[in-house]
Symmetry: C2
Subunit: 374 residues, 2 copies
């Protein structure tokens, strides 16, 4: 029923091997032969059987991208940038297909997808967003990533900290660095590709953000932290607290509420924060979306932003500049990070020294924050 390599070979009057060589272009073939083959391919509308070639070649052209929520522009921008690089320069291996996996932030689903991608013999995997801080999951994840890279899959962590366990081989284990330096020959060491980490400076960004509010005179600053038990939440919270500590401001636990990265959570968190301390003069939100919810909650209670309460977001998503007032936030280089992850996962860019790089976070001061009016 469906056209195969053999059919094309018969049509072109050559062997299947020759057709394969023409199609993969990795072997010399006479120009005239190549022409006949290509014509036969056209005429028969032949389409390579991916699974079959993946089986024979022991590798596929699938690249997995794990995201917490594809409907969230944060991940959409990241995934889009990765994907653009995959289909961009069709370098070694040609066009790669992006497999976007929505984990919903669930560590279990994360592991499930990792297995699914390993099953597909994915060429690479990019994990984005925050990770669970639960030690058991961290261990399971590290094991899963180790299995993947052991199978030759390139792994890139994008926007999350390096894996604690087994991320990098101990430096000491490479006993004699120079004595038997491995030649450039073999593509990948059999032990598997080491994973690369692209982290955001969440801590620094959060610290500068809260520092900005403090500089404006704010002392009672509410914090809508992200979901509990996640690395990104921890990092941003640490930055927030560092800023408070640096100015000798009490870090009241009651001024911190956890919530998801959506508008409703921001709204609810703001209500709760106000209930706990009606004297708040500023709120830093988990991200821009939550910040909009915070603003809505404040307005609904008759408070003006920023006259009564300053509000800040995080990530600098596209709509933040158009909110009213425009959101003060922290810009993360999402597109750049995704593009770089895409190049790394296809082996088109060198790994940064040490296998990890931290991307800067830039404070964007806009209208939603102002000096505290006493």
């Amino acid at each position: 029923m469906t056209v195969t390599l053999a059919d094309v070979a018969a049509r072109a009057g050559v062997s299947a091997a020759t057709v394969s060589r023409v199609l993969n272009g990795n072997y010399p073939v006479a120009a005239s032969t190549r022409g006949r083959v290509l014509r036969a391919v056209e005429e028969l509308e032949y389409v390579v059987n991916g699974p079959a070639s993946a089986l024979a070649a022991a590798s596929s052209d699938l690249v997995g991208i794990l995201v917490n929520d594809i409907a969230d522009p944060f991940f959409g921008i990241l995934a889009g940038a990765v994907q653009a690089e995959l289909s961009g320069a069709s370098g070694p291996g040609g066009e790669k297909l992006a497999v976007v996996c929505n984990t919903g932030g669930s560590p279990e689903r994360e592991l499930t997808y990792l297995t699914l991608l390993q099953r597909q013999r994915a060429a690479g995997v990019v994990l984005t967003g925050s990770a669970s801080e639960d030690p058991a999951h961290a261990r399971a994840l590290a094991a899963g990533l180790a299995r993947l890279s052991g199978a030759g899959t390139r792994v890139v962590l994008c926007g999350r900290p390096a894996q604690a366990a087994g991320a990098e081989p101990e430096p000491g284990s490479r006993a004699e660095p120079d004595s038997r330096a491995e030649p450039e020959s073999g593509a990948e060491p059999e032990c598997g590709a080491p994973l690369t980490t692209l982290a955001f400076d969440n801590r620094g960004g959060a610290q500068r953000l809260t520092g900005h509010l403090i500089a404006l005179g704010h002392r009672r600053i509410g914090c809508v932290a992200g979901p509990a038990g996640r690395t990104t939440t921890g990092e941003r919270l640490a930055g927030h607290r560092a800023a408070l500590a640096a100015h000798g401001i009490e870090d009241a636990p009651r001024r911190v509420v956890h919530g998801a990265y959506d508008r409703g959570s921001g709204y609810d968190a703001a209500v709760e924060l106000l209930r706990r301390d009606s004297e708040l003069t500023a709120v830093v939100a988990a991200n821009d979306t939550a910040a909009l919810g915070v603003c809505a909650a404040l307005r609904d209670r008759g408070l003006r932003v920023p006259e009564d309460v300053s509000v800040a977001g995080f990530d600098d998503l596209p709509f933040s500049a158009d909110a009213a007032p425009a959101l003060t936030t922290v810009r993360l280089p999402l597109a750049e990070a995704g593009a770089r992850a895409g190049r790394l996962v296809t082996g088109r860019e060198e790994r940064p020294p040490g296998g990890r790089a931290t991307l800067p976070a830039e404070l964007m001061v806009r209208g939603s924050t102002s000096v505290r009016y006493p």
Copy 2:
């Protein structure tokens, strides 16, 4: 190096076939045997080889989702909803993997991805968003879709009109409807699965939106249409014009400007519209994102929204309610559409009668539109 079925079989003291049966669960196996096999799988950390099983079974568990721009929440919500259904109820065939393909609105890339997905022997494909109106591309696309469904791939068009060519077999071709009614037996007719269409009522939504502005007293209504030559653009523009015509308002071509679905395009388009007619009292934008750009352009020129100029968007993306003023727009049931497309493409939902359904578009009146102040 890597563990195979045979290894598991040996470890469990059974044949490879039995292991396969246990893993696929589609065949009776003794409980004790199954236990031994499962334990061996655990111990060996065995992971199925997807390509190999896809080759043997002549089908994969990949589902393609074509989107214009994954960084755009419109498509993110759609894709997320489709994906959620894929991994949801692990019905027949179990977990499916979503392959999200970013076409960037390019018809060529659309075709390329279709071929790539056919190469992977995808179980299904969901095409979202607008399509090119170019006849040549429409024909090429129809041919590509025909090849896909001919190969047994389920195809769902989501948010775009039915394919002109070959979408549905001519009703007349089924000569005798009752005489030899095909029994429910064979899963899919060999001729291939017919494609299903889920369309949005773009035309009706646009018509109601412009009608709303007219009811508010507006007569000089600028229109930031979407990219030229695309079905969605055409439908919305048709609705806009229908509303104008219904009220005997001149449809001045100079009051229509085409642009992309982003903020910058909206901004530029608004500037151009004002240049052409500085007396405009309202603007309908291609979508909410563009509408925000329009608002920004108006503000930059000292015009207030909605006091001087009313502005309306389209799609009702999440941030629209938080813009200032909140955007009047047309709500499209994106999540519902995506979920339904996901169920259709996995065969978990019956096709609607005629293979097509139109989803309603609801007018959302908010603060960005008001009565015209003379």
